[in-house]
């Protein structure tokens, strides 16, 4: 197993050590160890069903909702074991945000309310504070100019690409440290996809981004590091350029050149 992510200890934001995930008898993620570096974009690629989404969801403890899921191993966020005793998943999820494949803004809320929805949970809001947050978050996802005149209209009136950017704005409003993205552009048209990819490039300045994608070209475009997962095992990971030009494992090469998956 080639693990070639360089960085000294200070740069590691999320550290996985021997992560195993079982759903009942199914062993979905097998003994994965990997580091995700701060302010970088890491793409997790692999064929369908290889466990990449499962892996991603363990990072913000979404599997807590699934009774048959068993997560063992260490997942460290900075110096905290996120599955440690006494750790409240709610506090983890504030630090580790998630953007889903299908945009899911709250349909009963306006654009404005959507952006602050998560933020409101954590703080009693003053209106001026809220206005500021809405503006800055929407600006950062490049949505502000398109919607600034209709902030109070229903979020469902936006196009798919706009909705997804809104969801990203909602995620960054709670000031997370890590942003998980589960195939964020797969439900969108090519132009929206491009906008999202540009956004990811900007977001990495402030956040650590881990993105699952089945689109290899996308992985090559946006990420600094890439990890290749196959049947629940980490086959290879390292700098994106290296993985895509001179992979070390044959399986990696086969996948990248399209021989399977």
């Amino acid at each position: 197993m080639a693990n070639d992510i360089r960085g000294n200890m200070n740069d590691i934001k999320v550290h996985l050590d021997g992560l195993n995930i079982h759903f009942g008898k199914t062993h979905a993620v097998k003994d994965v160890s990997i580091d995700f570096l701060e302010n970088s974009v890491t793409a997790i690629i692999g064929p369908s069903g290889c466990g990449k989404s499962t892996l991603l969801r363990s990072l913000n403890r979404m599997h807590d909702l699934v009774p048959s899921a068993q997560v063992t191993g260490k997942i460290m966020l900075d110096s905290d074991d996120i599955y440690g005793k006494g750790i409240d998943p709610v506090s983890i999820r504030r630090r580790v945000g998630m953007v889903f494949q299908k945009p899911n803004p709250f349909p009963a809320m306006s654009i404005y309310d959507n952006v602050v929805a998560g933020y409101k949970l954590n703080s009693r809001m003053v209106k001026s504070e809220a206005d500021e947050i809405v503006e800055s978050c929407l600006k950062r996802v490049a949505l502000w100019d398109e919607v600034k005149d209709r902030l109070k209209t229903n979020a469902m009136n936006l196009s798919g690409g706009q909705q997804q950017r809104l969801c990203i704005a909602r995620t960054i409003a709670v000031k997370p440290e890590v942003i998980l993205m589960d195939e964020p552009a797969s439900a969108l048209d090519p132009i929206s996809t491009l906008k999202i990819e540009e956004l990811i490039e900007e977001l990495k300045e402030r956040y650590t981004i881990i993105i699952v994608t089945h689109n290899m070209q996308q992985a090559a475009r946006v990420s600094d590091y890439t990890a290749f997962l196959y049947m629940g095992e980490l086959i290879e990971c390292g700098g994106t350029k290296k993985i895509f030009t001179t992979p070390e494992q044959k399986q990696t090469e086969d996948y990248i050149t399209g021989r399977f998956g």
Binding site: N60, M62, L65, P67, V90, S91, I92, R93, R94, G97, M98, F100, K102, P103, N104, P105, F106, P107, A108, M109, A117, G118, L121, N122, M156, G160, Q163, C167, R170, T171, V174
Partner: protein, 328 residues
């Protein structure tokens, strides 16, 4: 087990060999006429109902006009009929019952779908549906022989003592009263609202819940920001359906409300509802005008129930529409 299609085909083939083709064609024709007839008879039943109710009420409508709705004089001997006490009783008992039942039902539905373990929820849900199937007369039996005496001996004296300064709790403690009717209606209406609310909550897409959870919401916060707003109109529809049921309830209410045409602010006093006065007086109403007056009460009840049910259906229907076509 059942005749296989092949056997049927063989049968049909052999019979047609001996019969003229016209006869076989007639079989289908007769079938179509017969089924159409029976299907249309349902329209006929509804039509008959509306026609009969209206025509039988006409003598009273003509004689009393709007006064029927505003006057409280109901005297069979003098042949003067004003239905206000019954309207008052129906409206107050149903609305109060609904106000009490709705929060309980929503709370229980939330508990069953979101909070308790799936297996427990699957056990409780049929129990609640069982409650909805209990006949009205049995609720009434329990109400008049168990609940009303308990109200009279325990609850009502307490209310008089503590809250008697309010006009709502004044008077002597009869067991049978508006209060008893409100309680029994509440108990009867809760299962319906709970069952429908439960279905509405189950229909909320999990992507909504995940969005809230990923933002770091606690379970209650997830319910508050993602689930309840999504199911808002469906829950409202459920409540209105419950209201419709409460307004039409006859036996249980008749047995516990006291059947006295008083209009009083006090919940402790007996009252009368539209279905109850019909239930009590109709069989013996020999005078034509009396019968017509009761028919008119029935007509009002019918119209009110139809409007409420239509409104409820509209709301619940709009929920299923948005669930299918709303979220991108």
């Amino acid at each position: 087990m059942s005749t296989s299609i092949t056997e049927l085909a063989v049968q049909s083939a052999t019979t047609t060999e001996h019969e003229a083709p016209a006869k076989r064609w007639n079989g289908d024709r007769v079938f179509r006429y017969v089924t159409t007839f029976f299907a249309l008879s349902i329209l006929a039943i509804l039509g008959l109902m509306l026609v009969e109710m209206t025509s039988e009420s006409l003598p009273a409508i003509r004689k009393f006009g709007v006064k029927f709705l505003t006057s409280s004089d109901w005297d069979a001997v003098q042949e003067v009929f004003g239905a206000l006490p019954y309207l008052y009783g129906s409206v107050v008992s149903s609305v109060l019952a609904l106000l009490l039942a709705t929060p309980l039902s929503i709370g229980a539905a939330i508990f069953i779908t979101e909070i308790c373990p799936k297996r427990v929820g699957k056990l409780i849900a049929p129990l609640v549906e069982l409650l909805a199937a209990i006949p009205s007369v049995i609720y009434g039996l329990w109400g008049v022989l168990v609940m009303a005496p308990w109200l009279q001996s325990t609850v009502q004296p307490f209310l008089i003592e503590r809250f008697g300064f309010l006009p709502f709790f004044q008077g002597a403690p009869y067991g049978v009263s508006m209060l008893a009717a409100v309680f029994i209606l509440m108990i009867m209406v809760v299962p319906i609202i709970t069952s429908i609310t439960r279905e509405v909550l189950l229909a909320v897409p999990s992507s909504q819940k995940e969005a809230a959870i990923a933002l770091g919401a606690t379970r209650w916060e997830t319910i508050k920001i993602a689930i309840l707003p999504y199911g808002k109109s469906g829950i409202l529809g459920a409540a209105i359906l419950g209201l419709g049921r409460a307004v039409g309830e006859t036996m249980a209410v008749t047995m516990v409300i006291g059947n006295s045409p008083q209009i009083s602010l006090s919940l402790l006093s007996p009252a009368y509802t539209m279905p109850s006065v019909i239930a009590n007086e109709f069989a013996e109403a020999t005078a034509k005008l009396h019968g017509a007056a009761l028919m008119e009460v029935g007509l009002i009840l019918l119209v009110v129930t139809l409007v409420i049910n239509a409104l409820a259906r509209l709301l619940i229907w709009s929920v299923s529409r948005s669930a299918n076509g709303g979220a991108a």
